[in-house]
């Protein structure tokens, strides 16, 4: 595509000039496109970085929709059209390979990469890395814990199977085990966490497009999918499992119907705000395991900050990204917005401990979490998972594994309809 290359060259050639102009004529404006955050933490952090830049740049917060899928679509539309108002991108951890592969992100140079990697938890750092380069800087992280009603399940067992047993013994209307079984990325995250906990994964060699293929070791994969199939067919799943997202799970907990759920810590914040009576009865534990004696690998979420290839001001943008994710600002995001940090030390700050009484478990879970495979075709793989394994009650573990393998191989080739 010579025209594309010419345009890119023109942008690259013009960039330093434009930066220079900006520096002479007051601060350059950096558009930071990121999903909506209701506490105002992002806005405050952007303001502080603007102030700290001493007139070099001003960050303009551009809010994207709430759902990750909608955010991605909005960003993709802009980037595919080479929108030059996008400077900083708030990237869900699963987008790094895709955006880097499409040429929409500027890689961090070695010097900057070393500086911003220091003290970052390994899992979050891995989600910002693709093919040996750093494409974004980890800002916030996230993982799921097991949440339970202490009055109903005094000592939650560590595996899915035994948790389902426990829930099935509870009286009707109190024993729901709320899981995200709707047809969306959250369901794929659950499946991926189950597979990782059983010792296998969705994709082998994800970072090499020529060698990437379905992983799914037959025995462990069937064990993992057995959890989906068993829970979906149990009365404790509740009738809305196949359409449940985080919102529905959280509603089930707050309304008192659920005894157990797997959820991000936002659940705790929601309980504190909307159901304070329930808070004292809400316990937390490590994400459930598939195999007895083998620790679980919880799902890993979070947000990384990348610099757009089409930014007119890459220099200030890199500096701004580094500022936004500083320890002080991660602390602010944690305390005000309830967003778990990616810098290990921030978990020891007393204010953060107060926000997350489960901070130690959270850090430990993030360290043990399994990132979803870093392939540019991730959204295809996720779609394949949703097509083969949805609705959850239809899953037949023995038959689903070969079918899923075939569909994931198709997805990685990105040439079949999904």
């Amino acid at each position: 595509m010579p025209r594309f290359r010419a345009a890119l060259l023109a942008v690259l050639a013009a960039a330093p000039l434009l930066v220079a102009c900006g520096e002479d004529g007051g601060p350059v404006t950096l558009g930071w496109y990121v999903g909506q955050e209701s506490s105002g933490a992002y806005r405050e952090i952007a303001r502080r970085c603007t102030d700290a830049s001493a007139g070099r740049y001003a960050i303009r917060l551009e809010q994207l929709p709430r759902s990750a899928d909608a955010q991605r679509e909005a960003l993709v539309r802009r980037l595919a059209a080479r929108d030059r108002t996008v400077d900083l991108i708030g990237l869900d951890v699963i987008w790094t390979a895709e955006f880097a592969g499409a040429g929409w992100l500027r890689p961090w140079d070695a010097e900057r990469a070393t500086a911003v990697s220091r003290g970052v938890l390994a899992g979050p750092l891995a989600t910002a890395t693709y093919r040996g380069r750093l494409w974004a800087v980890p800002f916030t992280s996230n993982t799921q814990l097991l949440w339970y009603r202490k009055s109903r399940v005094p000592a939650p067992p560590p595996t899915w199977d035994r948790l389902i047993d426990t829930a099935e013994l509870l009286p009707a209307g109190q024993g729901t085990f709320a899981v995200q079984g709707g047809r969306y990325e959250g369901y794929t995250a659950w499946v991926a966490a189950l597979l990782a906990s059983a010792g296998t994964g969705l994709v082998a060699d994800p970072e090499d497009p020529d060698r990437a293929r379905a992983d799914l070791a037959p025995g462990p994969a069937a064990r993992a999918l057995g959890v989906v199939s068993r829970l979906a067919r149990s009365p404790v799943a509740g009738s809305g499992l196949s359409v449940a997202t985080e919102t529905e799970s959280s509603d089930l907990v707050l309304s008192g119907a659920a005894a157990l759920t797997v959820a991000y810590p936002t659940l705790y914040a929601a309980a504190r705000a909307d159901a304070p009576d329930l808070l004292a009865d809400l316990g937390w534990a490590r994400y459930p395991a598939v195999l007895a004696g083998v620790p679980s690998r919880p799902p890993l979420g979070g947000l990384n900050l990348g610099v757009s290839s089409y930014s007119r001001h890459p220099g200030p943008a890199f500096d701004a990204a580094a500022c936004l994710r500083s320890a002080a600002h991660q602390q602010l995001a944690a305390v005000r917005g309830g967003l778990p940090p990616t810098l290990e030390l921030v978990y020891d700050v007393p204010a953060v401990r107060a926000q997350f009484p489960f901070a130690v478990l959270l850090r430990e879970s993030i360290a043990a979490a399994a990132p979803r495979p870093a392939t540019p075709a991730w959204s295809d793989v996720s779609l394949a998972v949703q097509q083969v394994l949805h609705p959850p009650a239809s899953v037949d573990p023995e038959r689903a594994v070969p079918e899923l393998r075939r569909r994931i191989d198709d997805a990685l080739a990105s040439q079949a309809l999904l």
Partner: protein, 315 residues
Amino acid sequence: MSRPGGPPAPAGTRPRPIGAAPGRPATRRRRRRRARSAWWLIAPAVLTMLAVTAYPVLYACWLSLQRYDLRFPDQRGFVGLDNYAAVLSAPVFWTDLGATLVIAGIAVAIQLVAGFGIALTLRRAVVGRRAVHAALLLPYGIITVVAAFAWQYAATPDLSFVSDRAWLAERWSSFAVVIATEVWKATPFVALLLLAGLAAVPEELLETAEVDGASAWQRFRQVLLPGIRPVLLVVLLYRILDSIRVFDTVFVQTDGANGTETLSLLAYDQLAGRLNLGLGSAVSVLLFALSAGTALTFLLVFRADLRQLARREER
């Protein structure tokens, strides 16, 4: 105005003398000038239409012949009909086509029957006609996404004011919700158009039939139905074309879960979700072909009826 292939000119219009030239030179010149200025007048509209419809359609056709995935920019290239082969050999395409036809077929059938019923009732309405018409148009005026959410809430346990069943958790009950939404939204449109059609059936004709001893069913079958047949066909065509492309209701309510994915949702997934412009365009082009094929078939099969309607409008 008579046209080729039409019925003989009705009495009163001046027949053209056999063998005479079509008008004197001055008239002909004037006519040509008028034709030319007519072209100038419609040119902006035609150009705009070409720019906003023909160009995107042709561009989509061109994209559908390429391997073009935004995530793998280096692999872009012409692949002929490969994308179509991939689409047509994928079971998901046929499942989605089935879901599309189920939704469109059932929804349009109910819309027609219910719309006809409402139109027949309104025809008899003596008082408050305007108010009823306005009220009838409300569902049609409400944004589809809003309507879709309202019905979604109605079908969700705990939020519902209707029932405690998780309607959207299974395939056929999901179809029921989607179809109910579509019916609720489009029936008023059908009813009002049919009502306009009914107004063209002369009241005396019905009275005569009644005096002659025709039963209500006979009057409906043999007087009313033939009278509004052309309008009915146009309404049917509109509704079918609209329903084949059903997107927003399904997108909001199930996002294609439980086997409710339609073709337009499939195209959207390939384009906006997977960034696979080649495959997505192939699905879009096939969907376009389906709509265009339906419309063309309609125009060919019901040519006579539609011409009758056009004549009626000219009067």
